[in-house]
Assembly symmetry: C2
């Protein structure tokens, strides 16, 4: 079983880590498009194109059986396009978060935070309302969260003030559940929880392995793990070392994937 995982950058390594734990025998191939990161401020057309390029790279080079889109922005726009284009199962990070939020909320008031593109897509809102049209969904884009996390500022006064600034409108609406709609945001979970202890925080990446299990693809032998990036820069090493210190980045040239 070969699992392909992609993200705009290295935030998706939080998802990689979960799958790594759950499927020790599967082969895992991750690609982070660090040469073009971030996707969250880009257009729908560009997000779809980059996502198809990364998926094709994984299928062509590693014959992956399933693709995990470990990026909420790409999950918001590109999942159906990848399925149609490559004819293999594609797992997004939005559905697990939605299903958990649905079982978590008591008052039906759910908050969603993510990148500008994710929030603009209304992907979470649509899926939540499909399950229950009575849900009240309040969302907000938090463009400073990704740079905060990438700088390692996951705690402290500035971080707390920015969290309050982004969440105050949602908190005023009396949400009891908050979906972290970006793979970087789990690193801010501790500060968010300490500010708003009564709100249930839902993190998509923690549940993604359950969705892969449902595909019922079995493993045969001990798997390899390879992690590719399209650009290497010292700033990408910090988060990697925090999450998967035992693995090395392999740099590949953008020309090898820049095909569409």
């Amino acid at each position: 079983m070969n699992i392909g995982i992609f993200d705009s950058g290295i935030g998706g390594l939080t998802v990689f880590k979960e799958i790594d734990k759950s499927f020790p025998k599967a082969n895992l191939y991750y690609i982070g498009d660090t040469a073009r990161v971030p996707y969250g401020n880009k257009s729908e057309e560009t997000i779809i194109r980059y996502s198809l390029e990364l998926s094709e790279f994984l299928v062509k080079n590693f014959k992956v059986d399933v693709i995990v889109v470990a990026c909420n922005t790409a999950s918001s726009y590109a999942v159906d396009k990848i399925k149609n284009y490559l004819k293999i199962p594609v797992i997004d990070v939005i559905t697990p978060g939605v299903l958990t939020a649905v079982t978590t909320t008591k008052n039906g008031k759910i908050g969603v935070i993510g990148t500008q593109a994710t929030i603009r897509s209304k992907s979470y809102e649509k899926k939540l309302k499909e399950l229950n049209p009575d849900f009240e969904v309040y969302s907000n884009a938090c463009p400073l969260f990704v740079p905060l996390v990438e700088e390692g500022k996951i705690k402290g006064k500035i971080t707390r003030l920015i969290i309050e600034d982004y969440l105050k409108n949602l908190v005023e609406k009396d949400i009891d559940t908050l979906i972290l709609g970006c793979t970087h945001y789990p690193l801010l979970k501790e500060e968010i929880s300490s500010l708003y202890p009564d709100i249930n925080i839902v993190d998509s990446s923690a549940l993604i392995s359950d969705f892969i299990k449902k595909l019922n693809i079995f493993n045969e032998k001990n798997g390899e793990r390879r992690v590719f990036i399209t650009d290497s820069s010292p700033s990408f090493e910090t988060l990697k070392n925090l999450l998967i210190p035992h693995l090395k980045f392999e740099k590949i040239d953008l020309n090898q994937i820049c095909t569409l």
Copy 2:
């Protein structure tokens, strides 16, 4: 006279605006690589490659006589490469800032702030020390400034706290001059000045026109202005409307420039 201007995104429109004012008769062609923005967290190799691609696009399509690198990160790594590759004059945004700082400082203690890649390159430090080895140069990367500006958070408590967080080490060194080594940072000038009224703030983009004049290329007739981007997204419109509301973005496909 055709002037080509490029930037990783739309921050370089601050430079475009200056040249627009000073050279009404020149033709101006700007390209912002919004599909791959930002450059400040990318590697030297990738920054050089993208810069050559954008320069080639300007030369091939608009036969520009001079290229202005309206991006400190690209100016830090790619200027000599572009000159060698295209054999035309190339103006960077670093030299004007350096020459102004040299005439401004009284105590010889100069601060430099910029993206991670700009600060890592030590481009400002090297040029300042070439002019006077006795200068004390203190620098700091400020990765949150670009997203702050792009979100329009150019004033307020959070912005002031982040400014203080990044500048406290430089201020402790008793700098009397601070170079804003990124085209986004002039938009934070007001808050920086109000926090540190005794420090002279040097903004490269304001002086770039003087450097073009020195090239002694004359104009003949009223010039056209065209502004290209490699990706269009609502988030790019805010800054554009602030700077050049009368001009429209023209979207071009990355394939048209993705040649190297």
